[in-house]
């Protein structure tokens, strides 16, 4: 008797779902996305695919980085830092970010990171996915996919040619993860890896975490970052594995291994520089060049 009731409830739920109009709430402002919103054309064509998650108003708030002011750190305005301390010194090829870190974006990120509203993840990952191709095409050359030639090459499209060979992320300390329940950089990396079908490898660990990064000044950051990261104990081995698998797949010799380093925000770059320093020391395990590019959701 009792069970029949429960099945009834289940059916009611299903039928109710089928009959009620599909109303979806905007992830950001939680107001329902109206149907006629989708008729509105966003400013840029690729924003259209965000419109299933976010309402028109919130999409238009996104300060995309559409023109690079600095070819190295991906800032939207000219950047004196990169002239003084080139990223190359820390063997970071370049950085690219999806949005400018303005007040609105700060609010989004704090909703996600500090308040723990995990649905923001969907939007942010989608944004990183959308902006990837235009941004990274300014860093890496497209690989001509001669592997199969012919028809499959057509389907693989432009995106596939500049995808990284390996994705890794900026780690967080154990304690922080315990409190927060997730590491945002890892979440981004894993989601992107799933979408692109690229391996996501944990190559780094964080050893110290004196103060929260967002509460520190530039000098403090530089200083505290310099020894904050270490290579993960299995880093060499996992890298080797990826490399071997990659070489086996690719017929022609590959010039470089492309590593994408994911983080949420690039502020002074000290975190990413420190990570990249550690990563570059991994090169000795490999007999080829490694090209490390960092990709973040926002650029301050």
């Amino acid at each position: 008797m009792g069970r029949r009731m429960r099945w009834g409830d289940l059916l009611e739920k299903i039928y109710g779902g089928m009959l009620s109009p599909s109303q979806q709430a905007c992830i950001i402002c939680k107001r329902s996305i109206r149907m006629n919103d989708t008729a509105l054309r966003p400013l840029y064509p690729y924003e259209q695919s965000l419109m299933s998650l976010v309402c028109y108003k919130c999409v238009n708030l996104i300060p995309w980085i559409r023109e690079l002011g600095c070819a190295y750190c991906g800032r939207a305005i000219r950047c004196p830092d990169c002239q003084r301390h080139p990223l190359r010194n820390d063997s970071l090829r370049a950085n690219r970010s999806v949005v400018r870190y303005d007040e609105q974006m700060k609010q989004w990120l704090s909703q996600y990171k500090f308040k723990g509203d995990r649905v923001y993840e969907l939007v942010m990952v989608r944004m990183m996915q959308l902006a990837y191709e235009p941004l990274l095409s300014t860093v890496w050359e497209r690989r001509s996919s001669i592997r199969d030639g012919g028809i499959t090459a057509l389907f693989q499209g432009k995106l596939d040619a500049i995808l990284p060979d390996l994705i890794t992320y900026v780690p967080s300390t154990r304690e922080r993860i315990q409190v927060r329940g997730f590491n945002q950089a890892e979440q981004f990396a894993r989601a992107l890896g799933r979408e692109w079908r690229r391996p996501v490898v944990e190559l780094l660990t964080r050893t110290q975490d004196a103060e929260k990064q967002s509460k520190q000044s530039r000098i403090g950051r530089e200083h505290s970052m310099s020894h904050a990261f270490e290579l993960h104990q299995w880093a060499g081995r996992s890298l080797q594995e990826v490399w071997c698998a990659y070489q086996a797949k690719e017929e022609s010799p590959v010039a470089e291994l492309r590593v994408l380093l994911i983080d949420d925000v690039y502020t002074t770059g000290s975190t990413l520089r420190a990570c990249s320093r550690q990563l570059s020391s991994l090169c000795q395990y490999l007999d080829c060049l490694v090209s490390i590019v960092s990709y973040t959701w926002a650029r301050a």
Partner: protein, 714 residues
Amino acid sequence: MVMQVRIYAVRTEYGWHSGITVDWRIDVRYWLAGEGSLPRGSKLVVLHQQLPIQVGIAVLEHFMPSEAMERWGEQGWVRYFADILSPCVEEFEEEAKRRLMQEHLAVAIIEAPYSEPTSKLFVMEEQKPMYRVAEQSLAYATTQWDANSSGLPASFLGEGVSQAGVWSALHADAYRIAYGIRGRLLLDEELIQFLRDAGAEHLIASRYSLIQWGWLHGWVELRAGMSFTRRDDGGKLPTASRISPLKRVMRSLYKASVTICCGRCGSSEGLSSSTCSTCHSLQCWTCTQCLNVGRCRSCAILIAGKLYRGDDSAAALISNREEQLEKWGLAPAQLEASRQALDYIDRVRARNQFAGLSEMNTSGRRSTVQGTRGNLRKGAFLLWAVTGAGKTEMIFPLVEDTLLHGGRVLIATPRRDVVLELKPRIEKAFPAQKVVTLYGGSPERWRDGDITIATTHQLIRFEEAFELAIIDELDAFPYHNDPMLQRTAERACTPGGVFVYLSATPPEAMQQNVRRGKLSHARVPVRFHRHPLPIPMRITMPSVAQCLSAHGLPALLLARMNHSVSRGAQLFVFLSRIRQVDPLVRLLRERIPGVHIDGTSAADESRGDKVFQFRERNIRVLVTTTILERGVTVPMSDVFILDADDRLFDAASLVQMAGRAGRSKDDPAGLVVFGSPQWNRSQRSAVRQIRDMNRIAARKGYLLSGADRRQRIG
């Protein structure tokens, strides 16, 4: 740092019991150390692995004592724990699951130092060191906690302390914390904030030990952030035997049909699940409904303060009821309503005392003190008072009455401005009592007061805290149609406590209950100045949109407005759309020159300032939307509602807006105008409600006689 729990079984003289612990050393102490007498238990079996709270609590529900437990050794216990664990960790990451498989589990069997070993498998010497370790590892720092800041009466300090040294200090500190958070429902982060605010920073590190001690004494409860609401047939618990695969399937089906809900705000919708690195669950739920007052997720721990004040203080001296009412200087209608409410509260109290007594007699054990509380019903009373009736004054006698009975009082209102406005008035009326105001960002958030004035959102941190809960304007914006706020308000009142709802326009469902006699109520049909409510007059005019596009207003409306301005009144002009506010302000400025006209809306940042200017008569005409429909009192004001037939204006909001007029004693007859192209149902209903109230007032003789009224106006 992160709160994880362990589970254990304990053998007492009544049999085997299960327990959950955030600090197992405390439990060892509690159960196995005799305080001058025999220890409470003889044997403790602690599962070594730490579990996320939701798993711990689920496992406890599956615990079934059995005869065989006496004979079990480590193996037996490991097998048993593995059995009851396995259905609870289904949705966990592989790694976490593996960690909790039978091969990896370990238990510690701890026996009291001087008790007979109940299990022959173990030799005495093996257990004693274990106990010693537990005993000694707890280095509890005894430092003075500023007793004043916690507001703890001195008489509590000595109570129940029979141990020397650290344990008595621990006992006292745990009691203090429990006393401080009584009636509250806190997340771990909030507990830290509470301790910091109470000046007890040094207790933060050892808070788990204290909480655990409180849990063992029944002073606090531990809960998971998310709970399952299940249908009543929850009798499918595993026996001590292995769980068959069939049962496992049944269980997962059963689980699928169970709905999950937030343990804090009670929402079962708006939960989002994700993988979580804290508890290693693949489906750790986060409640998005109450996210902006802190993140409540499956693996978060909720601490509920369950320490109650003794009920015997009810014998306090109560002076004569009439004297008690007299001193507030209420008008006859107010007096009558307050008296009715007090009578109702008395009835509820008497009923509960009776129920409590009979319950007490039937079951003679100590623990029933809390058991009976759950059976007590909450009372509800509606004070249906017209706008400007003087609701605040009417609640004074009720507040006083509850305080005299040793209860705590809550006054909940939807808006922060009202909280701040009420505070000085309440403080003036009750100078001897501690009044605490709670709102987002309030500095007194963790203080403990006799009278608490809070916005409705703050109630999420309370549970069974108040004997009298006064809910103001329950039909107003955030409270109305928000089941979460209604649930939390419901919960904030103790069992056997009383709700008093205040409203000028109760929602339809409540009015129905009143008509059917299901809800006790008192009606206050007249304002404190004993003049009738102004009846809205009707002006047929084109809609505001048409007026704006034609760039003109009807002559009749302008004449009325001019008349009001020239008689020295302040004009409220209500609109339905924010976007029409500015154009109408411009139009009015043209048509009524020489008068300061301004507009404000929810989108306006300088709203508070403009309202202030309006009160100060610097702004004479204020164009606004429904945001100012309630809570604003401006002496000598007239009200113009344009587009009164708009569907955004229901009868309740029309009554509220009309209620802005004629509130002061000096100008009791304000002007209310409904300007609209058509006369619709809400307008009719609003006018009828106002007329009804006036009629009732006249019949009961609350209104001043005509001659009197004229004389007053002069």
